[in-house]
Amino acid sequence: MKHILAILVENKPGALTRISGLFSRRGFNIENIAVGETVTPGIARMTITVESSEKVIEQVVKQLHKLINVIKVSNLSNEPSVTRELMLIKVRAETGSRSDIQQIVETFRGKVVDVSPDSMIIEVTGNDDKLEAIKLLLNHFGIKEIVRTGKVALLRGSKVTREA
């Protein structure tokens, strides 16, 4: 099963290495990872997606807690949450296919952010299913390059993941 962990961590040198090192050392697999600042200065939030069993994820969370720089770990998969990921796709776009591509992009509420004589860059945000779906459709035109941010997630409702 896929688990999405939100990790609040002191923004100190090496904190990211400690966390990623822990995953590889103990044989846990990171599917994707996103890091950024929070509202509290000096505290960063990492969102890590892990594919693992219940038993393993429990051990992952406990081991993360042991790291001195880690302040809080919550498993967002246990509760309703909003998950998003941003993807940029550079797709082959000859003059004849541009309007078709445009239509697909609109359907997925994406944006064309760059156009060149033979290609376009498309920005699209969503969950896994949506990103996979547009990828499949654009594949038809020829995808030249893809980059993804990794998932970020927040709990639904007024509940928050906070350091204290």
Partner: protein, 553 residues
Amino acid sequence: MIMAALEKEGVELVFGFPGGAVLPLYDALYDAPLKHLLFRHEQAAVHAADGYARVTGKPGVVFATSGPGATNLVTGIANAYMDSVPLVLITGQVASPFIGTDAFQEADITGITLPITKHNYLVKSAEDLPGILAEAFYIASTGRRGPVLIDIPKDVFDQEAYFNYNKECHIPGYNPTYTGHAGQISRAVKAIRDAHRPVIFGGGGLIRSGASSALRQLAEEAQIPVILTLMGLGAYPGDGELFLGMPGMHGCVTANYALTEADLIIAAGVRFDDRVTGKLETFAQNAKIIHIDIDPAEIGKNVLIDIPIVGDVRQVLEELLRKLKPGNTAKWLKQIKTWQNKYPIPTGVTGPDSALKPQFVIRELSRLSDDNTLVATDVGQHQMWCAQHFNVRKPCSFLTSGGLGTMGYGFPAAIGARLAAPESRVICITGDGSFQMNIQELATVVNNRFDMTIALINNGYLGMVRQWQDIFFNKRYSHTALEGSPDFVKVAEAYGARAIRAVNDKEATAAVEEAFATKGPVLIDFIVEPEENVYPMVAPNRPINEIITGGEY
């Protein structure tokens, strides 16, 4: 500034080895009231600090230089990490502008030690130093203990900063749990009351938290037999009425049978290591398990737990004692007596012409020792014989590399023990393989005239590996014969130590008596049966009640 911080932390003694990047540190040490013990190899300095920390309970402090000085610490740090020993290690680093340029004697020691330290720091500015030092001591010596490394660039040593040292530190992500959950403790009390075949299964956590007397009280009041892992030896007296011995791969038959047959296991400060549990699927299938540990990550890591209690083992046991309702274990204890009589620890088969038995040597060392004895062992067959035959009477008196299994640990650890407890007798029990991994420290013990008996169990082999080759690889002794070893008596004498050789029982006894009566370091070279095996034995990943007895029963 570092000296002042160490003084504030009550550090009296530092273990180390100087070098280029720590010149300013050693210069400050020159006038400081601290004692420093110089070793011949950094690895030995860490092991000695580790031995010192195990005996005193205080963090051992180590100084080493950048690059090779720091990398030589690695084995010692990993060893301390696996056995949860508090250490504070201060390494020099090349000057800040040179970091990342592959400068002379540069090594990324914080990167290298990331997975084997509880935490580590690279100091960017002297301003940060007081806070980091205070945190390092706090982290090393609280919660589940462990080594903390501080890497200091050479230019930072030379900076001046305001020294504001506050021992009390608040770290947002670090808040160990000491008190057990009351509801879980009540469940444990009930489980103990209802159990017919309970055992206490204790480990290193008992020693680190000072839980021996609580353990003893629990065992005696509820009449529950006690099994101790290698790391737990001494937490209950080795000759105590309810003691069953060590479990696992080279454990006592009775301890393994008791774990297998038990209906309740009170696991205290143990981590269910593979050497203890054998095949996990068959481990203690009949038992409900209470697991008390300060590290929540240990609970449920290897074995499913029925009653988890996160907390300091001593505090939890004391709380348990306040509510204790003993069950009836008389029938169970009778069953255990039967096993004990049937399966004593084998002492080795002897004949009229047989060579000196290593088991006999350990038994003599034990018999001639008093309660005030500290034993440090190395790793291998002799280590297991010590665990089986040496009567460990008190906590913190048996020092051994349990988790990492580091050959070369014993001799320097004995040096640390020597300094930690000036009134105690110190014995280093080692093998001819292990001893050669840190033999250079003979210089350190001779130079400081340390009273110490080095009992060298010399069988001419890397005995434990040879034993596995004997049993599992059809006696194909690939590279386990230690040909070319020196005459250890001559080596010790060359360093200036007294040395005795013993080849039979009579000489062995006389040598031990003489060594114990002699001031200064004495090495005894016990030439023992070369192909003696350690029994009982359980093959790796087999059920622990499937025991190879080596024809002794």
